[in-house]
């Protein structure tokens, strides 16, 4: 076998060195955070009162309530399971409205935040005003869009909800927009990246047949990214269901509203009923997206 010369070795090891440092840095970063927070496993041992509450709560996991646990129930109250179903319906409606808005923003902003629509047409033609405008304006549009979607994402939907409730009160629109803003930002970011990473061969071919930049983008790049974009949108829809349920804590009639109420009244069986309803929702969405993806034709 041939001996590796020393400069060969230096070259060979250099590639791994960076990687080794990175792995060590990530590990020590994690440990540092634990130390900073003074995390101690002993904290997980609950107080004696806590043990009782925890037991009372978790012991109902296998026996969720079928009827109300309260002794006195007003006669015009619908049955518990019917109410859970209604709350689930409301949760889905809020999530769907928010996702529809978020998808529109995600597609529009995702377009502006991807570099594919303005980077590189090697043969633009002479005296080309369009190309000049694209080359000088596009980076500005691109940059400001990326800042905008970073802003949308960096604020959690609950904080947006607090802001909108303070400004507009408990309107349905406040809740929908509170979810739609961060979700739109996240979708825009992920969509733009998926589109930018899609193979460019087709885009190049379309451009060569005279297609406009917008057509190249819409029909040459987006379809290639569409299966991934769809799968990701379904995942975000799941997240939207959770967020919409949580907004019940502010008083919207979604699952969270009833979870909070039952929890306060120590009706843990009802809490589990609502939690399982949420679980079924998420499983349904998962199943739906799986079924759709299996036979996906654009």
């Amino acid at each position: 076998m041939k001996m590796t010369r020393s400069w060969d070795r230096a070259f060979l090891h250099k590639g791994l060195g960076v990687r080794r440092i990175l792995i060590l840095a990530i590990l020590s970063g994690g440990i540092w955070a634990f130390v900073q927070l003074d995390l101690n496993p002993a904290d997980l041992v609950p107080t004696s009162g806590g043990v009782q509450v925890a037991w009372a709560f978790f012991s109902r996991a296998l026996s969720p309530a079928i009827v109300y646990e309260a002794e006195f129930v007003p006669s015009d109250t619908p049955p518990l399971l019917w109410k859970a179903l209604q709350a689930a319906g409301t949760t889905v409606v809020f999530a769907s409205a928010a996702m529809s808005l978020a998808l529109i923003w995600g597609l529009l902003l995702g377009f502006l935040a991807s570099s594919s629509w303005w980077v590189g047409d090697p043969a633009g033609g002479a005296g080309n005003v369009t190309a000049f405008v694209r080359r000088s304006i596009a980076p500005v549009v691109y940059g400001s869009t990326r800042v905008l979607i970073a802003f949308m994402r960096s604020i959690h939907e609950l904080i947006w909800a607090v802001l909108f409730l303070a400004a507009f009160g408990l309107s349905h629109l406040s809740a929908v927009i509170a979810i739609a803003i961060p979700f739109g930002g996240t979708l825009a970011k992920i969509f733009s990246e998926m589109i930018d990473e899609a193979p460019r061969d087709v885009a190049h071919a379309f451009r060569g047949s005279g297609a406009s930049a917008t057509h190249v983008y819409l029909f040459g790049l987006v379809p290639r990214a569409l299966p991934d974009m769809t799968a990701y949108s379904f995942y975000r829809f799941e997240c939207a269901l959770r967020s919409s349920a949580i907004l019940g804590f502010f008083g919207y009639p979604t699952l969270g509203f009833y979870i909070a109420a039952s929890f306060e009244n120590l009706h843990y069986g009802e809490v589990w009923t609502y939690l399982y309803t949420l679980l079924v929702l998420v499983i349904l969405v998962d199943w739906w997206s799986g079924a759709l993806r299996k036979r996906f034709v654009v």
Binding site: P122, A123, G125, H204, G208, G210, A211, H215, P223, F296
Partner: protein, 270 residues
């Protein structure tokens, strides 16, 4: 198969259709990528309705030459003319218009795998449509287009695949989709880059014969790059030999000598 050629000397038959096809003229055209000279001062004229084969080793510059002809690569020196108009002087819209008249069958086919055949072929027309025209055609394809595409697919031999997902087709069938897309452009020139690289010899032959036959029927100018010298000699009345970015011969196929072919493919001198 319906598109198979009847044997015989196709290449010597005269072009019947009139001067519909595009003409291409290169004057001292060079293309330099960084430090690589892909094409070195190429002079070439391809007349309307001609069928020309580009032959040469890997890296000789065949793909680059084809890309010059539809303006997707700009010459770093010299000029490229299509139908007598210098591409460098055209506005963006004019260049798009020229490109929309030139079909290009790519070496890697460049099809969208998760679209139906119909939509992949439809994309060929985008260059001739407005923004809304393209949206309409893609989302709600007009019957007129569907019929036209069905006819073209019939011509290339896969009419039953029109609603099939493209990634469910075989390599040879995909190749036909790529050809159909170029034809749906209603082009005046057809460029094909190594259209036989992904299929077996029999299919390679039928693909080349399909291209030459259709071009002759419709009076299109045809330029095809080929590694396979036998196919090139069989189907093209004129051959252009490229070596390291230079044209080493450019004449009627029967006038190219064996020595010239051997020199073209001589690996020692590269």
């Amino acid at each position: 198969m319906m598109w198979s050629v009847n044997e015989g000397n196709r290449k010597s038959q005269g072009r019947t259709s009139s001067s519909r096809g595009a003409s291409f003229t290169l004057r001292k055209s060079s293309v330099v990528f960084g430090s690589t000279v892909a094409l070195d001062s190429v002079d070439l004229h391809i007349g309307s309705g001609e069928a020309v084969g580009f032959v040469g080793l890997s890296g000789a510059g065949k793909t680059t030459l084809l890309c010059l002809l539809n303006g997707t690569v700009r010459p770093t020196g010299g000029t490229v003319q299509v139908d007598g108009r210098d591409l460098a002087t055209l506005s963006f819209e004019e260049l798009r218009k020229v490109r929309s008249g030139i079909g290009f069958v790519h070496q890697d086919l460049s099809l969208i795998p998760n679209l139906r055949v119909l939509h992949n072929v439809l994309a060929g027309r985008l260059g001739k449509l407005s923004f809304w025209g393209g949206m309409r055609a893609f989302l709600f394809p007009q019957r007129r287009y569907v019929h036209q595409i069905h006819e073209i697919l019939e011509r290339v031999g896969i009419p039953e695949k029109i609603y099939e997902r493209t990634d469910r087709l075989s390599g040879g069938q995909r190749q036909r989709v790529a050809i159909a897309r170029a034809l749906f452009q209603e082009p005046v020139g057809l460029l094909a880059d190594e259209p036989v690289s992904s299929v077996d010899p029999a299919r390679a032959r039928s693909a080349v014969s399909l291209l030459t036959e259709i071009s002759r029927e419709q009076g299109l100018t045809l330029c095809v790059s080929l590694h396979n010298l036998h196919l090139a000699r069989e189907f093209f009345p004129r051959l252009v030999g490229l070596r390291a970015g230079r044209v080493v011969f450019d004449r009627a196929t029967e006038q190219v000598t064996e020595d010239e072919f051997e020199a073209l493919y001589d690996l020692n001198g590269v």
